[in-house]
């Protein structure tokens, strides 16, 4: 059985750099940092007091009050980004909605909702007064559920959860469902909204986050010698994946083709990356094999690169092992230097960034580079500090999650 070709026909994003795809791209290619002091709660007693929040966010700009109140922030972001992508792809008219699915990614779900409800219970006298919307707001699949209910999409519908690889797994699953013929179109991507007391406190306890409070703007500095952890971000990235013949038949605009997805596991530790990078070698090899391309065909890797001391090094080692001499010809960049780390939403906005790099022929930079890390090969092109013009025919997007989940997605410039 021949697999169907699958193309990208719509994009959506709400990010710390901007709340639409054009605003996001503007920030990406200008090299803007999305970090700032936390405004969502009083963080004065926390080790980390800054994050990459979606700026000037007001749910009333997007939802009527009754509708917005029933969605956790991560679901609001999911609906906003997917609305932009759905509109961009022209999916609301003339499409058989029984054949349109939603496969979304979220690593955590409604953390704020969970935290508030538990807090309210603990404050009381032991009488349970849980809100009836508590569970439907909190569960991670309320994101994909709300997207389908709003748009009447009756195809396959679920959420993937694999920590920071969640939305890349959603994209690979969407790709598989379409190429196998189980849906013609899938709204995919992912979202996260974990900038809450529990989120920041929890990641601080893991010693995973940057504590550079005196210089928040430059705290996310992947591949810099003085990197000290990731910066928490929030938001959503959405893609419309569509069977090529279906897109062609309705005259849809095509951004790029998705040609491969790879998955692997470190089988090493629940939070620490395997320093040998073996699982990461495997995931990129699996993705290249699925795509049916040679390593030399890849132009750009949007890395996981979270700005943690261990993780960045392991990924770079793995890239050198998989790509050999070609590693020096690649553009490598971590857009988390600008957006922060969206956890389960990272794969969504980074897939959007990779596709925009193909579309514009511009590789977004790794900003905040000050000092070379002697552990990293200086001949590699990390696209430090400024975007670089380059024809990107093939882009790979890597994401790795706590639990040892690794996922890699490959996009190619579309050709008939």
């Amino acid at each position: 059985m021949a697999f169907r070709r699958v193309v990208v026909t719509g994009l959506g994003a709400i990010t710390p750099l901007g709340s639409t795809v054009p605003a996001y791209w503007e920030g990406l290619h200008q090299g803007v940092s999305g970090a700032a002091p936390i405004t969502r709660f009083d963080a004065s007693k926390f080790k980390t007091r800054f994050a990459c929040e979606v700026k000037n966010y007001n749910p009333d700009d997007y939802f009527d009050r009754k509708e917005g109140r029933k969605m956790d922030l991560f679901t609001q972001f999911a609906v906003i980004a997917s609305d932009e992508a759905i509109k961009d792809a022209g999916l609301l008219e003339g499409v058989n909605k029984d054949r349109v699915g939603v496969i979304w990614g979220s690593g955590i779900g409604g953390l704020k909702t969970f935290q508030e409800e538990c807090f309210n219970f603990a404050k009381g006298d032991g009488t349970p007064r849980y809100n009836p919307f508590f569970i439907p707001k909190m569960i991670a699949d309320s994101s994909s559920g709300n997207i389908s209910i709003k748009n009447g999409f009756r195809g396959p519908n679920f959420v993937t959860t694999s920590a920071c690889a969640s939305s890349s797994d959603a994209i690979v699953a969407a790709y598989n469902y379409i190429r196998l013929g189980m849906a013609d179109v899938v709204v995919t991507g992912g979202s996260e909204a974990a900038i809450t007391e529990a989120g920041v406190g929890g990641f601080n306890a893991l010693k995973a986050m940057s504590e550079r409070n005196d210089d928040a703007l430059s705290a996310s500095r992947p591949y810099d010698k003085d990197r000290d952890g990731f910066v928490l971000g929030e938001g959503a990235g959405a893609l419309i994946l569509e069977a090529y013949e279906h897109a062609q038949a309705r005259g849809a605009k095509i951004y790029a083709e998705i040609i491969g997805g790879g998955l692997s596991s470190d089988a090493y530790h629940i939070t620490a990356p395997d320093p040998t990078g073996e699982g990461v070698v495997l995931v990129m090899q699996n993705a290249l094999r699925d795509a049916g391309i040679q390593p030399e065909e890849v132009d750009y890797i949007n890395t996981h690169g979270t700005s943690t001391p261990l993780g960045d090094g392991a990924e770079v080692k793995a890239i050198q092992k998989v790509f050999g001499e070609h590693a020096y010809k690649l553009n490598i960049s971590s857009t988390k230097s600008m957006t922060g780390h969206l956890l389960g939403g990272a794969g969504g906005i980074e897939a959007v960034a990779s596709i925009l790099a193909i579309q514009h022929g511009i590789v977004p930079p790794t900003i905040n580079h000050f000092t070379d890390d002697p552990e990293l090969d200086p001949k590699l092109n990390f696209t430090f500090n400024e975007a670089q013009k380059r024809e990107v025919r093939v882009a790979m997007s890597n994401t790795f999650g706590f639990g040892g989940h690794n996922t890699s997605v490959v996009f190619r410039k579309f050709q008939e």
Binding site: D64, R65, K66, R69, R129, N131, P132, F133, P136
Partner: protein, 78 residues
């Protein structure tokens, strides 16, 4: 209008996102004000919290309109 009735109306306007003019005594939460079963549960919980009462499930089932909520609470509120 009693103070209780004012408060009940305000809760309904807030939770169901409706206009004050729609919140008439005869208005049914589900048929007229767009509430689903979860909205109704939430309304009852808000009444319990605001008026410091506990509304048993079998009595909550009989509170389906604005007027029914006001009369129940005028009778039971502490």
């Amino acid at each position: 209008m009693s103070e209780i009735a004012e408060k009940v109306k305000a809760i309904i306007i807030d939770k169901l996102g409706v206009e004050a003019s729609e919140v008439t005594p005869e208005a049914s939460f589900t048929n007229d004000l767009g509430a689903d079963s979860l909205d109704t549960v939430e309304l009852i919980m808000e009444f319990e919290k605001e008026f410091n009462v506990s509304i048993p499930d079998d009595q909550a089932e009989n509170i389906g309109t604005v007027g029914q909520a006001i009369s129940y609470l005028e009778e039971h509120a502490k």
